[in-house]
């Protein structure tokens, strides 16, 4: 990820990260030059100071390979814990990650997935956004909290398809 001094030249729909307090909020470049995130709209007028301070980064997470995708984003959807039949979904940053096939197996075995707050989890939202691009049918569900196992399983399944190359990423 590199700091941006301008959003000019970025394609509409590009990932843009706003860094604050060592966290990155992921936004999407809108047609009018502003940013959108979870239905929120941030006009480009508000961005000048952020750009000047190096707080807006290129959020291009398009993977060259599965491993590269992991390495470049360093903010991934993971099933990090399985206690009995409960899997907790969380995000990891840095080098703490496990491979797709490992958590996919965990997900397959889980009967209930606990995601305390999907909307607070940047990594989950990022993954959901990716999935939406890969699958139009999920678009309408992106802004909703994920509340049931079947839906989570669908997401996990699609992520696995994406990781396996079965779903095409459209950016």
């Amino acid at each position: 990820m590199s700091a941006l001094t301008s959003l000019d030249g970025l394609a509409v729909g590009a990932d843009v990260g706003i860094i604050r307090d060592d966290k990155t909020e992921h936004w999407v470049l809108a047609e009018d030059g502003g940013l959108t995130r979870n239905g929120k709209v941030l006009d480009r007028w508000f961005l000048s100071g952020l750009l000047a301070n190096g707080q807006i980064v290129d959020g291009n997470f398009a993977p060259a390979s599965e491993g590269d995708w992991f390495q470049r984003t360093r903010r991934l959807l993971l099933v990090v814990e399985v206690k009995g039949t409960v899997a907790t979904v969380a995000t990891f940053t840095g080098s703490q990650f496990i491979k797709f096939d490992e958590w996919a197996d965990l997900a397959e075995n889980a009967t209930r997935v606990s995601a305390p707050s999907w909307s607070d989890s940047d990594g989950v939202l990022l993954a959901m956004t990716r999935l939406a691009w890969a699958s139009d049918q999920l678009n309408s569900q992106l802004s909703q909290q994920v509340r049931n196992l079947n839906r989570v399983r669908n997401y996990l399944s699609l992520i696995k398809q994406y990781a396996d190359g079965a779903a095409e990423l459209v950016v």
Partner: protein
């Protein structure tokens, strides 16, 4: 009419007028130690000059503030405004003060409507500091606090169906009375009438003062009411200077100079804090003392024609409001109109009615001797 503020003068209504100051200007609370104050670091962004923390709480800017520095200038000019904008500033300040003080909005809204500010003035770039009008913004309105040049303090909210929804920034919840600036409106902004002259503005402020005083008494509001007017630079002496009229009326306790500006025919009274003596004074242009009053009645008083602190009983426009215990009522002259407690029947003080007065009850005095 524009207004010039020199260094050391009060800078009125920093919430709404703050943007007229150059960056680097310093304002400080009148009662603060020398050295305390706020610096205008960026548009819509004030920081404490000691710890450089951002000033977000509305009450810090809603005080009697003095201009302590103007980035090298010795004076600043506040541009002229319309009567409607003045009324809107008064409405916003009153509702924000109510929000900070835990006073319900309905009475304040009624007061604002009575002084002809039933609706907010919504303009792009305009400031809103009260929660009521923010909660009733058109859906889709975008407001912000701070400025993009200081992104660490920049907050952006968008009006949703029910309330302001936080869009961006470090502080999801707006603090009570925190001023925000309108970035965009999904509707046409409120039309801005042309600026008014000083007399028209003073008369509008005078009306708001008088209406507000009535509401303050009715709802027993605390001194926040006076403090709010004071922070806006609206003072009785200032209004009197501009209009030649006094904003004061029944129930106000005034000094001699203030009394001297009341209309002729006003009745006032004074009493010892301890002891039974009292005196009644009439404002008359024939009097040549500072308060232009004559003592028309009194007992056990000092016999002077005026006093330091006199309370207004009645003006040519306002009926008498006066209550006295029976033992003092009995010492008033015959011909005074009064009512028994809890009774609207008017009695006239005389030999027959004096016998009905109980010394320990409070009586409402309705009219002085004709």
């Amino acid at each position: 009419m524009s207004m010039t503020v020199r260094l050391g003068d009060q800078f009125p209504d920093a919430v709404h007028n703050g943007e007229t100051l150059p960056l680097g200007s310093i304002i400080r609370p009148v009662y603060a130690d020398r050295g305390d104050g706020f610096e205008r670091q960026a548009p819509n962004t004030w920081v404490n000059i000691h710890n450089r923390s951002v000033v977000a709480a509305g009450h810090q800017l809603s005080r009697h503030l003095l201009l302590d520095g103007a980035a090298g200038a010795t004076e600043v000019t506040i541009p002229p405004e319309s009567v409607e904008r003045l009324r809107w500033r008064l409405r916003d300040a009153a509702l924000a003060a109510a929000e900070r003080s835990g006073i319900g909005f309905p009475a304040v809204l009624s007061m604002a409507a009575t002084f002809d500010a039933p609706e907010p003035m919504l303009t792009v770039g305009g400031v809103v500091s009260n929660g009521y009008d923010l909660d009733h913004l058109p859906v889709g309105t975008v407001v912000y606090s701070g400025h993009p040049s200081e992104p660490r303090w920049l907050n952006v909210w968008t009006k949703g169906e029910n309330y302001l929804e936080h869009t961006f920034g470090p502080s999801p919840a707006r603090t009570a009375g925190e001023p925000v600036t309108i970035f965009s409106l999904p509707v046409e902004p409120t039309p801005e009438p042309p600026p008014a002259d000083g007399l028209a503005l003073a008369k509008a402020a005078m009306r708001a003062w008088r209406v507000g005083r009535t509401y303050q008494r009715r709802y027993r509001w605390c001194s926040v009411f006076q403090d709010t007017l004071d922070s806006l630079g609206i003072t009785d002496k200032g209004l009197m200077r501009l209009t030649g009229e006094s904003p004061h009326g029944v129930g106000d306790i005034l000094d001699r100079e203030q009394v001297g500006l009341l209309p002729e025919g006003t009745l006032l009274w004074w009493r010892w804090r301890r002891g039974g003596g009292l005196a009644v004074y009439l404002r008359t242009d024939e009097a040549r003392n500072k308060s232009r009053t004559r003592r028309v009645f009194g007992f056990d008083d000092n016999g002077e024609q005026s006093h330091d602190r006199m309370e207004v009983l009645q003006t040519p426009d306002e009926e008498m409001v006066w209550a006295l215990p029976g033992h003092q009522l009995l010492r008033l002259p015959d011909g005074v109109w009064f009512c028994r407690p809890g009774d609207s029947e008017v009695l006239i003080l005389g030999s027959d009615t004096r016998a009905q007065v109980a010394t320990y009850l409070f009586y409402s005095i309705k009219r002085w001797v004709s």
